[in-house]
Point group: D2
């Protein structure tokens, strides 16, 4: 986004089409057009939102010409759109209809002043890494996908553990028996990996986290490796193992299949309001309160 | 507390003497006297609250004649008074001036209707165990105290770990190196033990929890033993070890000293409002919300 | 088992039929017959082990007449046989062909002297509780089973969390979103529940543990309730939820189904060698070493 | 270390002076001198090891001329020497008399062949970051030190929590109440931080870990920030707070004092044997075994 540039093209995207979302999209379009910019609706949005007489374009085409994409929705929508836009290097602006998210962090009632500031160059950018995962069977790649949050190998249906063997940069790390393994970006460190006991990773940390789900060995601990690492996981033994990418794309796999994970060559850039701080979001989302610590306790108060 | 009994004696106790606490004490006294009962202020309360012309008595004497003790304060006050009243088997009623606690669970603005119900037998009683801890040096008991929450052996000042050896019922359990060991009642399971990773124990579980603080061994886990257990902890090696009882009574100890912990012969009984549920309190204090789960998170919303 | 009683009947059971197991069974039978006792092979064992000319009987019949059951196998076999013998109150003796287990704790090379001691009354008995779980659909029980280790509700295949609502003794405890919930006996506290972060529970603790698997809420903690509790779990929302009992019996369930868990009226009794200590087993199985603490670490040594 | 360079100068250092250590030092000196290199004993080592007729020099002087320092000892010695050599950029080689460490990773019985290989350029180098910590009182720096493992703020003697307020890069992160806060390098991630629940950080990850010790808030989680971060911790409230650097240098502090932590401009380089892998060390030290997983468990085997 170039501050004060005369005419820029903005993509407008949503995945929910309630009256208030449609109203927000229209308000944003009006505002940007009024400021002399071009607004194009992403095709699916245009269909869902039933916007008459407005230019629209498939996401992939739009990605080639947009200066930035404005997404009205929650973190889930940001995640999906972000992953699709990653190859085009289009930055994302997230406007939130519900509770503020990690990525969708501009509240509805402040969207116009914030966008106005952004047009004047008052914003903070932040780059996020993605993972590139390939499933290998007998040395052939049978599936390949990107992940913004995480790639998860899990035991699938039924009971019984999955047994995995993990190598990093050609060095054997460990074999583990567990319900599964979560390989996550810093972005994903606040999602499933956190539930499994993984640490929080600041978005600009150049690291990839590995966290086992309910590991059998008591000495298992989450580990963070540099994002230059090549992580190779072999499915040694499991009954119905599956691999998923951001919980949005799935693959059934076999014993003997391998998952190769590397940092993707693509990145996603977020545009945040001026003064934005990751820690503010973290504190809000995790219920850390400066005072109070409402969810703490003790019989000693 | 005998429902509908003609005349009962109530102890009134507080440890904070703000105008609103004094007002509450007076309101309670009026209400109970009006209902035909005897109200006696605990001596320290009477002094602090500057109540003219009201009978008062030292806690130990009062404990012999009171049907129940009404405590105006928080969980900390309940804890201290509860431990002192334990040998006398006087039940406690907790009226809370601040945020509701685990033990002090009657809100100020409902105290009169709740007390009124209680006088009619509409209440729930709950018994809580205490620990009896003895510090042994060369087979002599050099200190002995009760604990309502926990008895904690810790490394004291400076750095370096404490090394402990733990026996239960004459059987060696483990030696551990850590920052310390927390031996807790179910009541204490929501206090320090919880911070150290210990489980929640329902107050009526007949168990004692052992949780190490920052244990060196990765395989260390919290353990819960029956409350009939005799737990003997030897301080094998530490620089400035200390033992505390409910963080209220302290002892400096030496290498070679032992701590013997058993369930106390005394118990404390709480009288809760009718319909009281431990789980309601837990949910409130721990920030578990039926809906919402405000402090949960994910990039996937 | 009655010490020094003239003639007692022993059931001999195994589930693996390697030559060395068959040899062990024969050695045990010889020894007991030589001591004047009756030995009857469980039918499936007799078939698998191809023992000519030895009495055999289906497990259920044998259970009615046996003084004790001698199981040659690991903890998994003890678990399965124990659950089936529970209604008959037949104590179990576990002889282990592999690494010693929590339940199968008599090493092969000491089995004869240990059995000899046991016949003279030199042993320790230990009682273990079981869970009784019923799956309810529209107030009808559609499945009912016992569990020695645990009853597990899990999200099944695919991704996405399971949402559960838990009530104990008619009181709402919490709703949780997670990969699943493990309800375990003290016996099961060293199995799956431990992997999910649950505490160790001494076998004679009268408690039932609840541990969520990868819970979404940061404030979720394992909880231990008295074994008199009636635990009712509703499956609020999940895609392919399943319930399993000791990972040996499975049920596919629907949203809206409930699981009711109580302590079973049956118990299992183990007969351990004289001098047996649960803590010795625990230390061995968890890799706690009196000295050494081999699996601990630090850059500070 | 320059492979095959004609004459290089090696520092020889130890902190234990048992006969076998002295013998090892002599063997190493002989070998290197025999290969045409110069060997100089660090002064304290020369005194402790009572080596007659060998050149010695204070560590600081020696650091200016040595190509590499060979340390005979454990990780603790490597840690102390590494921190002192950091400003001079002298790489370290660790020869271990006991159990292999994270840093001291050449076993005694292979030291000569390994050193021989190293002289021929067959080795792996690895760079480790250090922390630079300054204690500020009323904007004056009252103490400043480097740490290789960690800088720890803790509550000191007595009971009661410490309350801290943490800012990163000028942004408020959180206030926390706990037993203390561990700020660690990746090197330190396997030390105290691990005991407190922190993740493992690969040594080449450009990150700094923050792990609270027994935090009061249930929502507290370890966090890893980029090593470009400026971490400012204010001691809001504590009774006898202390700050230590690698558990080797201590400072008593006051409420209101601040600790400022940044990545040090200095680094330490380790020279490892050819084929060295961090994961091999990790697996060994943490008791992760490729097969077996000796310290895992379950009642289901």
């Amino acid at each position: 986004m170039l501050p004060n540039k005369k005419q820029q093209t903005f993509a407008l995207i949503s995945r929910r089409y309630t009256p208030s979302v449609i109203q927000s999209l229209a308000t944003i379009a009006d505002f940007l057009q009024g400021a002399g910019h071009i607004v194009i609706y992403e095709q699916e949005t245009a269909q869902g939102a039933a916007i008459p007489g407005v230019a629209s374009m498939p996401l992939d085409e739009l990605a080639n010409i947009a200066t930035a994409a404005i997404v009205v929705g929650g973190d889930g929508t940001m995640l999906g759109i972000g992953r699709r836009l990653a190859p085009y290097n289009v930055p994302l602006i997230g406007i939130n209809h519900g509770r503020l998210g990690f990525m969708a962090d501009i509240p509805l009632d402040r969207m116009i002043p914030v966008l106005s500031d952004m047009l004047e160059g008052k914003y903070v950018t932040e780059r996020r890494i993605l993972l590139d995962g390939a499933i290998l069977r007998e040395e052939q790649t049978i599936h390949r996908a990107m992940a913004f949050n995480d790639i998860v190998i899990s035991r699938g249906a039924g009971s019984g553990m999955i047994e995995l063997s993990v190598e990093v940069d050609g060095h054997f790390m460990y074999s583990q028996r567990s319900d599964g393994l979560i390989i996550s970006t810093p972005t994903g460190s606040t999602a499933y990996a956190l539930s499994a006991g993984g640490p929080l990773l600041h978005p600009s940390l150049s690291g990839i986290g590995l966290a086992a789900i309910a590991p059998h060995a008591l000495s298992n601990r989450p580990i963070v490796v540099p994002d230059s690492s090549e992580i190779l996981v072999e499915i040694v033994e499991a009954r119905f193992p599956t691999i998923n990418f951001d919980s949005q794309s799935f693959a059934s796999v076999h014993n003997g299949d391998c998952l190769l994970v590397r940092r993707s060559k693509c990145e996603v850039t977020f545009i945040h309001p001026k003064g934005w701080s990751y820690y503010d979001t973290l504190r809000d989302k995790l219920g850390w309160n400066e005072s109070g610590q409402g969810n703490s306790l003790g019989s000693d108060g």
